[in-house]
């Protein structure tokens, strides 16, 4: 893992997008405000997210050798660029912290009720730090290895739900019972920020994939694939549980899996679900953490190891800030979704608009004269 250009292939970026976006999203049923139309809300958000992806990609194409920090500096000048860069880095660290907390809460409620949470969170933070210390190429390889596991497990679960006869399309009906209004209200901005706009972290990683021409196409393809997958899972869970129960439960997917009982011995598969959760959250945590550290490096020239060592305790300590689970969920709904759209939507759009034309030339000039 070298300094500037490690060679990451387009395929690895695509796989990373898939793993990262899947993350822990299927665990929570998103968009339940729209009741049985949640999958439509998700679809709407996915389309908008595709648009944002195009925005990010355009920004990246202006200076393919730079990452987010560099782009900020180009657009806004050095000082504001560094300020914004550090802010974004802290945002990513915050997201990582949220996921660590999620991880702790979920593990405690499903797998290990008596274990203290600090222990669980320490373990996952430790593993994330270990990953970051190994470097970027290693991280992408890890996601490559984990993808078949994830896809296979989800496929198996969906298959079992199908075979068990638990899927009942009638529960999705009546479609659009209350009109399109609630659907759109749930979709924007909540659903857009999470999970679809989290691909903004790609702006930090794309620069390492400049070796391959197909990065853009691979990114779009992966995004569409994962969007379809998430919509499908959302719809399936709704079909299994029905709108009323889905709203009530904390982990609807876990519920659905609990119901699988086949041939009298394929049952109690919730361990599979927890494993999926673990892997998904791990990729998210490590990805966000990495993005944060890399952004610090490109903004303020903090070396990788120092950055990693600095942010790890930050994440770990911050994850104790919320005293209870309810607080954590509420903070996610209220605070994050109010804060993140600024960085995820407003800032890139701003950069897109004000930077037409001259940024690209400036970047090329910079590249020519190092």
């Amino acid at each position: 893992m070298g300094k500037e250009t490690s060679s990451v292939s387009a395929g690895q970026i695509a796989i990373f997008i898939m793993m990262f976006s899947i993350g822990s999203t299927p665990m929570f049923q998103l968009g339940t405000d729209a009741k049985q139309d949640s999958w439509i809300a998700l679809a709407a958000a996915a389309v908008a997210g595709l648009g944002m992806l195009w925005v990010y990609r355009t920004l990246q194409n202006r200076a393919p050798e730079e990452d987010m920090g560099g782009l900020l500096k180009l657009h806004f000048g050095k000082v504001i660029g560094i300020v914004l860069g550090v802010a974004m880095s802290l945002l990513f660290a915050y997201e990582s912290m949220r996921n660590v907390r999620d991880f702790g809460e979920l593990t405690l409620s499903t797998l290990l009720p008596q274990t203290p949470m600090w222990c669980v969170m320490l373990i996952i933070t430790g593993i994330a730090y270990y990953t970051v210390s190994k470097g970027l190429t290693t991280f992408f390889r890890i996601t490559q290895i984990l993808l078949p596991v994830l896809v296979g497990s989800y496929g198996l679960l969906l298959l079992l739900l199908l075979i068990g006869g638990l899927i009942d399309p009638q529960r999705l009906q009546p479609v659009l019972e209350n009109g399109i209004g609630p659907v759109l209200k749930t979709a924007f901005p909540d659903l857009l920020s999470f999970p679809f706009n989290q691909v903004i972290v790609l702006l930090v990683f794309w620069k390492y994939a400049t070796g391959s021409k197909k990065t853009g196409a691979a990114s779009y393809t992966a995004y569409i694939a994962v969007a379809l997958f998430l919509i499908a899972v959302n719809a399936v869970i709704m079909m299994v549980l029905g709108p009323a129960l889905t709203e009530l439960k904390t982990l609807p997917t876990l519920e659905a899996v609990v119901l699988i009982r086949l041939a009298n011995f394929i049952e109690r598969l919730d361990i599979l679900v927890t494993m999926l959760l673990y892997i998904g959250l791990y990729v998210k945590i490590a990805g966000m953490y990495f993005a944060s550290v890399l952004l610090l490096r490109s903004c303020c020239k903090v070396p990788l190891k120092v950055g990693a060592l600095a942010i790890a305790p930050l994440i770990y300590a911050a994850s104790f800030l919320e005293p209870t689970n309810t607080y954590h969920l509420w903070a996610g709904l209220e605070m994050s979704v109010k804060m993140t759209p600024f960085f995820q939507i407003v800032l890139p759009l701003l950069m897109l608009i004000i930077g037409i034309g001259w940024v690209k030339r400036k970047a090329e000039r910079q590249k020519a004269s190092p």
């Binding site: 797998l111 992408f140 890890i142 009298n264």
Partner: protein
């Protein structure tokens, strides 16, 4: 004149120009291996660091720090050499004389165990004693001339050099040469005569196959290299030898196919070998530990193979091999994780059974890692995962057992490790009796005494059996050690612990390299077209490309696949039929 010769022989060693290497007069030191030099260019690109164009490298640095010139008197030289050896009984001295040098006393000196006495008799003694008289040389240069003329006209050994320092003479003796001392000359002839009895070529002891060649490497480097040469008859096969080990001067050969193996990789291997400075190399295992990429890991990054056919196959694919004199295990590198589950037999059997067996091996590896841990996790943390009937049976079994499941598992696993280690060293006569003891006493009686539950014995037994499935010993050892980690973490955190250690393992493996090759390729980073020979083995005609280890531009293994050719052959046959 003698003074000049004397002084030159002093100065030369001290003016070691470049890299602390003491070059001898002729520039090429004795090569004890029977001339298995490389092909055309000097050992691939970039091998000429020390300026040696071919042959072995000199003995390791720091071996000799002084350089005493030999005296002119035979008696003094002989006595000096004998004194260095403290009059070892196997140092043989035979006085002789030759008509080629009338009136001059000659002596033949060798270490008995490491020379081929027939060789000495035929090439040296015979020739000396039956040589015709040579012209008497002009005065003054008599002795020196005699030496060179003996060397060029009389003695018919393989490599013959003349040495001028005592240390060089000692080195020559130790490397299996026969010294010819000439009275009145400050030079001594060192004639190559190594031999002695070595083990015959036999079946490999550790890696047996049912179908395939049944030869294994032996301890003699030259024989081993010869076995490979018999399989790969190509001048592209390069052999570079160097001597490592201050006291052992062990010959270590680096073998690769020029044009197929990546030059950077070979350079790195060469560099790492040359950096080793140690007292002695006894087995290839020493070399492995010195040159491996990462020491603090359970997982090996080199394969040790006893089979020439396996070594040759790897060489053809672009790997390199390191063979150490005195060890029948060759080192093959660079290797990836998936190679450890491939046995040479996969390529001799058909593809369907080969693929099936590979999958079984990988599954067995996973089982041996996880099974005890899963048992512990399920019975102590996740009892809801078991079917009810099984739960009740296990409950009934565990009623009287005093230990927690983790402790029980550790006890049984450690007991089994003790049994296994004992089995390795047991004399063959007592073997069956002890195995009965192991099985009956430990297995059955502990269950009946209520110390462990029956299910635990089954688990341990199955785990142990699975660990023997891996074709390479070193990966099985890695599994043996990691198993305990898994068990402990399962005992503390259940499935969460197992998955955590799994993840840590994957991270560790993903970051591991073997001579620059990522350990988990070709899965991660995904290399196109390599799926044909990783977990499954597709039919031979479809494996058209060499693995990505080989040089770019040289990956095409064979002509287009079998079916097309088969069609052409069919057509031809049809055309010729009446």
């Amino acid at each position: 004149m003698a003074l000049i010769v004397f002084s030159i022989s002093w100065i030369k060693p001290l003016s070691s120009a470049q890299n602390k290497v003491i070059l001898d007069k002729g520039g090429v030191f004795l090569s004890a291996s029977k001339g298995k030099k490389g092909g055309s260019a000097a050992g691939g690109s970039g091998g000429g660091r020390q300026g040696n164009s071919s042959g072995t490298k000199p003995p390791p640095l720091g071996r000799r720090v002084t350089a005493t010139p030999l005296s002119l008197s035979l008696a003094v030289n002989a006595h000096a050499i004998r004194k260095q050896f403290s009059d070892s009984a196997d140092l043989r001295l035979r006085m002789t004389a030759s008509p080629a040098a009338p009136g001059i006393r000659l002596a033949v000196l060798y270490l008995q165990g490491i020379v081929d006495e027939n060789n000495i008799r035929e090439n040296i003694l015979d020739k000396l004693q039956s040589a015709s008289a040579i012209e008497v040389a002009p005065r003054g240069s008599k002795a020196g001339d005699i030496c060179s003329r003996l060397r060029s006209e009389v003695i018919t050994s393989g490599l013959t050099e003349s040495v001028t320092t005592l240390e060089r003479a000692l080195d020559a003796l130790l490397l299996g040469c026969c010294l010819v001392l000439i009275d009145g000359s400050g030079e001594v002839l060192a004639a190559e005569a190594s031999g002695g009895s070595v083990r015959a070529i036999a079946e490999p002891t550790s890696q047996t196959v049912i179908r395939g060649p049944q030869q294994g490497f032996t301890e003699s480097l030259s024989t081993s290299i010869g076995q490979i040469r018999r399989i790969i008859r190509s001048e592209q096969l390069i052999v570079e030898t160097q001597r490592i080990g201050r006291q052992t001067c062990t010959e270590v050969s680096l073998i690769y196919m020029k044009g197929t193996a990546r030059p950077e990789m070979v350079d790195e291997a060469r560099r790492r070998l040359s950096e080793i400075d140690v007292d002695g190399i006894v087995d290839s295992g020493y070399i492995e530990e010195y040159i491996q990429d990462k020491t603090f890991t359970f997982f090996p990054t080199l394969i040790s193979s006893e089979r020439p056919d396996q070594a040759a196959a790897y060489l053809l694919e672009g790997h390199f091999a390191i063979i150490v004199d005195g060890s029948p295990f060759a080192l093959l590198a660079p290797v990836t994780f998936f190679r450890f589950f491939q046995s040479p037999e996969d390529y001799y059997q058909r593809f369907d059974i080969a693929s099936f067996l590979r999958i079984i091996r990988m599954s067995a590896f996973l089982i041996t890692l996880h099974l005890p841990a899963i048992y512990i996790a399920i019975t102590t943390f996740h009892q809801e995962m078991m079917p009810t009937n099984l739960l009740i049976s296990l409950s009934a079994q565990r009623e009287g057992v005093p230990f927690p499941a983790l402790v029980e598992a550790l006890i049984m696993e450690l007991t089994f490790e003790v049994l296994r280690e004992a089995g390795v060293r047991m004399p063959k006569v007592i073997g069956p009796a002890i195995s009965i003891v192991g099985a009956l006493v430990i297995g059955t009686a502990t269950v009946q005494a209520g110390l462990v539950s029956a299910a635990m014995v089954i688990i341990v037994a199955f785990t142990a059996i699975s660990s023997f499935v891996a074709p390479q010993m070193n990966i099985a050892n890695a599994a043996r050690l990691m198993r305990f980690l898994f068990m402990i973490s399962a005992g503390m955190f259940g499935f969460f612990g197992i998955i955590s250690i799994d993840l840590i393992l994957i991270i560790h493996l993903a970051g591991l390299h073997s001579f620059g090759v990522p350990y988990l390729s070709p899965m991660a980073p995904w290399i196109k077209g390599s799926w044909r020979d990783t977990i499954l083995r597709m039919p031979r005609w479809s494996m058209k490309l060499r693995p990505a280890i080989a040089q770019d531009g040289n990956r095409k293994r064979q002509a287009s696949g079998q079916p097309e050719d088969q069609q052409k052959v069919d057509q031809q046959l049809k055309g010729q039929k009446p």
